[in-house]
């Protein structure tokens, strides 16, 4: 909906929700402005004007788009060297370069393609070295993990792919996966198989990477040697602002901007306990929508006409409705004296109309 729209954040904490009061005595609030770039600039400008109520607004920037994955240090070099050693029939060198559980580490980092390359080239070297036992193990793991043959496999002996295809099906074991926060997606070897915690999965015997991920929590993974039915439990930690920002960007990219989860992620990302998201969209004829969240709860939603309303008025309205801002006394409200004056004027008019006796002029004259 608003993908790519420039955004801006004003950050704060909130006295009403338990945080320290601001120097002005009222709550401190983070305001995030999203939507049409030109209108968002105007909103920002208007928010910079005096508020007229006791609160402090603070500006903060949202992280930009998700940074591309950083290459694993030395991996490409090692793979290239291993490939060259394989071509040169230097299998010892090849196996030295690809030894260990590097592929599992890569899987835990959701780098299935790199993990497939590591395991595939090691399998090739196993075959070339005539190590049938190791080749069977790696071929079985490759198949059990559901990895794909890498695109640079053209120089590989057909026997390698044949070993993968011929890998004997391994016994399945049931894994029970649970997490401290339910509803986390479970990834097995980097792939989601429709399991959301708590859930059970049948997994082939062997080494696997079990990972869970959930919005608002740090992703967690575990390398597991599966040889019997077992239970895996994850204790999920709250997401860091960086992770929350990445998770929010994925949701924002999918068009979810004002949902509760997206708002909570955004609040974490901008490090705010209390946050107001203002969305201004030219396509909605200048409607300004606002959502107030505090400590993970959506406390108030509202909207105003962009043409006549000031953004600060909408922010104040949201704070008042959430009772984070004490309402002004009756006599200090804008409409009080106006309303009182109007009522008095009307009452005076009605009283005058009721009590007034019209002047009568009577002309007395003789008949003709």
């Amino acid at each position: 909906m608003l993908a790519g729209a420039p955004m801006l954040a004003l950050t704060a904490s909130c006295a009403g929700s338990g945080s320290a009061p601001s120097r002005s005595g009222g709550p401190t609030v983070t305001v995030v402005v999203a939507g049409d770039a030109a209108l968002a600039r105007q909103v920002r400008g208007r928010l910079g004007q005096p508020l007229g109520f006791k609160a402090q607004l603070r500006l903060a920037s949202l992280p930009d788009r998700e940074a591309p994955a950083v290459p694993v240090a030395g991996l490409d070099r090692d793979l290239a060297a291993a490939r060259q050693a394989y071509v040169d029939a230097d299998v010892t060198r090849c196996l030295e370069l690809l030894a260990g559980d590097r592929h599992l580490t890569l899987l835990a980092q959701a780098r299935a393609a790199e993990a497939a390359r590591v395991l595939f080239w090691r399998l090739a070297c196993d075959v070339a070295a005539g190590d049938d036992l190791a080749a069977s193990a790696d071929a079985g793991n490759f198949a059990a993990m559901g990895l794909s043959v890498p695109p640079d496999a053209d120089v590989i002996s057909p026997e390698v792919e044949a070993r993968i295809a011929a890998a004997a099906p391994r016994q399945q074991h049931t894994l029970t996966i649970a997490s401290s926060s339910t509803g986390a997606r479970v990834l097995v070897d980097g792939r989601w198989r429709g399991c959301v915690t708590p859930c059970k999965l049948d997994v082939a015997a062997g080494d696997h990477v079990i990972a869970v991920e959930a919005d608002g929590f740090m992703p967690a993974s575990r390398i597991l040697r599966v040889d019997t039915a077992s239970t895996v439990e994850f204790d999920l930690a709250p997401a860091s602002p960086t992770v929350a920002a990445q998770q929010w960007l994925r949701r924002h990219g999918a068009g979810d901007l004002e949902g509760t989860t997206a708002l909570n992620l955004l609040a974490i990302a901008v490090r705010a306990r209390t946050m107001v998201l203002l969305v201004v969209d030219r396509r909605e004829r200048g409607r300004l929508r606002g959502v107030l969240t505090s400590d993970g709860l959506v406390l108030a939603r509202g909207e105003a006409s962009w043409g006549s309303a000031q953004p600060r008025d909408l922010v104040r309205d949201l704070l008042l409705r959430a009772q984070l801002l004490a309402p002004p006394p009756l006599y200090k409200r804008a409409g009080f004296w106006v309303g009182l004056g109007a009522a008095a004027a009307v009452a005076a008019g009605i009283t005058a109309a009721l009590l007034f006796e019209p002047e009568v002029e009577t002309t007395v004259r003789f008949e003709k």
Binding site: P358, V364, F366
Partner: protein, 208 residues
């Protein structure tokens, strides 16, 4: 805030409109006095009184050569009494009945030349036709009186002994009526001299 000001302006406009409408509203009434002029003699009702010898009291003008006809208002306080002579006399014994000054209309008969006849007096009475007595009648309960006296208009106070004709209306609030108002006098011509004296008195009481 803008809406509130709009409401205030609307209320003020409403109040001003109501006030203006109220203050600017004046009712206009018109009361026509019917004096009951006799078609033959040209004299109004209350001017046919005769003395004990059967002579018109108005004939006295031939000796005095002074005559004026005046229209005034007698204010009656304490409510609206019954119109009958006896009831009015009683009412004015108990309540304040007083002439409203100044006299709004008075015509002198012109006896400066010619033979002393009733003509100038009748002409003075005829001048009353279609004449405006007052454009803003007094408030409260009043009687309208039409007094003929052998005094000039310059003499403001009427001497009952010089009165030769008088008629009056019933006590009314002139601001509350419209249309004809009859001026008349009770009694028959032979015994109405006493009535015209009371009718023309300052306080509507019988003079001793």
């Amino acid at each position: 805030m803008r809406l509130a000001w709009r409401r205030l302006r609307l209320a003020l406009a409403l109040a001003l409109t109501m006030s203006a409408a109220t203050l600017g509203c004046r009712e206009h009434h018109a009361v026509r006095l019917s004096a009951g002029f006799d078609r033959d003699s040209g004299l109004p009702d209350g001017y046919q009184c005769e003395d004990s010898s059967g002579k018109l009291l108005l004939e006295r003008v031939k000796q005095s050569r002074i005559f004026s006809v005046r229209v005034d208002f007698m204010r009656v306080s304490g409510g609206v009494p019954v119109c009958r002579e006896a009831d009015l006399h009683t009412w004015c014994e108990d309540h304040l009945c007083e002439r409203v000054t100044p006299t709004p209309l008075c015509f002198d008969a012109d006896y400066s030349t010619g033979e002393p006849t009733l003509g100038p007096a009748v002409a003075a009475l005829a001048r009353l036709r279609d004449e405006v007595v007052i454009s803003d009648a007094p408030d409260g309960v009043v009687m309208v009186r039409l007094i003929g006296t052998l005094q000039p208009c310059a003499e403001d106070v009427v001497n009952p002994d010089l009165v030769v004709g008088c008629s009056r209306s019933c006590p009314v609030r002139l601001d509350e009526i419209s249309g004809a108002l009859l001026l008349t006098l009770g009694g028959f011509p032979r015994d109405c001299e006493r009535n015209i004296k009371v009718c023309a008195s300052q306080n509507f009481r019988e003079q001793n």
